[in-house]
Point group: C2
Chain length 362, copies 2
């Protein structure tokens, strides 16, 4: 735990459906799990202080920075951006930029969080668009799925970036040396998938990058755990994630209805209650709560807005794991590997041109 | 059952992983469920005849048309198309075109089946691209999801067509007067979804069409049964369908592992075995087997290639239900409603131009 000595997390205390209550409940759990982590809370001190006061350990290991305004859960990201540094969300991200904290956790508005994080922290050199990575349960444990909602249209270049980001994330979070990586596709048609997924797969293969690239997988492969990292565009990834959540709810509903229907089944339920508890724990979305924003100069973790303290504590666990890792260098080394094999991004071209202008400038 | 008196189904007896055995097993079940339906079997008579001989009722109500060749499950659709009418798949579709049969069922290669069906039966007037519609379980019963794999890129015009096709299908198959229809989207971003879904929703609203249009739903709404018809592009729909199947398998796996782990749980399982049986039946993909190709001049039902006789019989049920319905007129009346509100399709423009050329031609 000595490596946690210096770890300070920045917390958007006002983000989430039932913030700040749920956030403080979560941090109280986190203080037990991570005895050396400290918290920098951003938000309305009048609302935060009484909640923190109930947890002496948290009180001793946190500091509250008062900021009166907050981003609403349904606020347009562009509107939130315009308000700049008057919100708890902005300030909590700025603490990472300023080097005060190693990572920021927010359960607030996802779109606003991504927009502000991009503006404040900036994408890593060589990355056009950051992605949101989710952990997805499978029979072997879990896999990484990205993007689950940051970017809309599929784009071959972005998909290659996502493969690099997701692979690095799997290495640091799951401790894998050579995680397997695949691109999500469909198998029904002759010319499989859209142009972007085909081009991205071809690019990865042609690049000669030292990646354990599996090729394509289909939707059912995600939960089967066929690979460690599943790459897709944000639209498809978001639909897949929510569709799986819906299917899990439907099955829970079937199961509880079936058991309620007969006396024998209810007796059976009592005997098997331990097994049902295990199942519920396995299916509990709180245990894998937390989408990590990958590809930024700084660690940003988005907790589910509707979670409770236990779920929030899972997001904090994730933020600490990523903050303590060397994910940035792992991403950078892969980007360097692939760089010589592909054209410059729009941003890189601009930077190169500006560099050239600066070199010949006055 | 009198309306079944004239119903003849065309069967691609060679399509499917374990065809023709599985196909004949399925038809034997169908003869019991549908005492007046007759079957026209297309395939290798030497392999089909001994199987049919074991089922005297089926034998008396079927006729086999010998055709030596078949489309392989992994054959490229373009290659299958080039072989034209030497395959059982082609001949079975042609029987619908020729008016010999009311519908065709195949458990063969999906891509080849769609390509051949488009070539032989042609899309309905006003429909650019036919779609594959799946039935999806929800707590209220089931909903229609389309497209689940016939078309790759999303296109606003196609999405509007899919809404019309899916609504008509829900009316005839689920007996609903005004099924609710929504377009699948994601909710995370400010400017929700891609251009195609936004434009399609705007088109439906602007058209003044008499449709119970709900707007957008997200992935979890499919299994929750928020609406009766969920419209999406074939890439996203296919990923969603397979992702849900994968999630269901994962949960079954969790449940059986949890029960196996303790003696008490195994005792509980014995008491609750009725409930587990109900759950298994609810989750049995065979009970909702069959993707219907919508938007063609003729009824085509695709059974899952890996199903067994029971699953194949479900696909036959579906084909009979659709064949007996007036789905084509329901689709056509909606297309007429919307026609005046939107520009011509590429095909319609070509047809109009050809008409004009013919009118002034020699």
């Amino acid at each position: 735990m000595t490596e946690e000595a210096e770890c300070i997390l920045s917390i958007d205390a006002m983000g989430g459906d039932t913030a700040p209550q749920m956030v403080i409940d979560g941090l109280a759990i986190s203080t037990i799990r991570h005895p050396k982590v400290r918290f920098l809370l951003h938000g309305d001190e009048a609302r935060i202080a009484p909640l923190v006061a109930r947890h002496p350990v948290l009180k001793s290991r946190s500091e509250t920075r008062h900021v009166a305004e907050m981003v609403a859960m349904d606020e347009k990201p562009s509107a939130a951006l315009r308000r700049k540094d008057v919100t708890s969300m902005w300030r909590s991200i700025a603490s990472v930029k300023d080097g005060e904290a190693k990572a920021i956790v927010s359960a607030g508005n996802t779109g606003a969080l991504m927009a502000m994080a991009r503006m404040i922290l900036k994408p890593m050199p060589g990355i056009d668009r950051p992605a949101i990575a989710a952990l997805w349960p499978n029979p072997r444990g879990e896999s990484v799925v990205l993007d689950v909602g940051a970017n809309i249209g599929p784009d071959e270049r972005q998909l290659v970036d996502f493969a690099i980001l997701g692979e690095a994330y799997a290495r640091v979070i799951m401790g894998l040396e050579r995680p397997s990586v695949a691109i999500l596709n469909i198998g029904a048609e002759e010319v499989k998938g859209n142009e972007a997924v085909k081009a991205a797969a071809a690019d990865i293969r042609a690049s000669g990058i030292d990646m354990n690239f599996y090729g394509f997988v289909e939707g059912d492969d995600i939960s089967l755990g066929t690979v460690d990292v599943v790459v897709t565009d944000g639209y498809t990834g978001n639909v897949a994630l929510k569709t799986a959540e819906g299917a899990a709810k439907l099955i829970s509903n079937y199961l509880s209805n079936a058991i309620r229907r007969s006396l024998f089944a209810r007796i059976g339920y009592v005997f098997a209650s331990g097994a049902f508890k295990t199942l519920r724990e396995k299916m509990d979305p709180r245990s894998l709560n937390g989408g990590v924003f990958l590809g930024l100069n700084g660690v940003v973790v988005k907790s589910h807005g509707g979670t409770d303290g236990l779920g929030y504590a899972s997001a904090v666990d994730l933020a600490i794991d990523v903050a303590k890792s060397d994910i940035a260098s792992k991403i950078q080394s892969r980007l360097n590997e692939i760089k010589s094999h592909r054209p410059l991004t729009a941003l890189e071209r601009m930077q190169a041109e500006q560099g050239a202008v600066a070199a010949v400038g006055p």
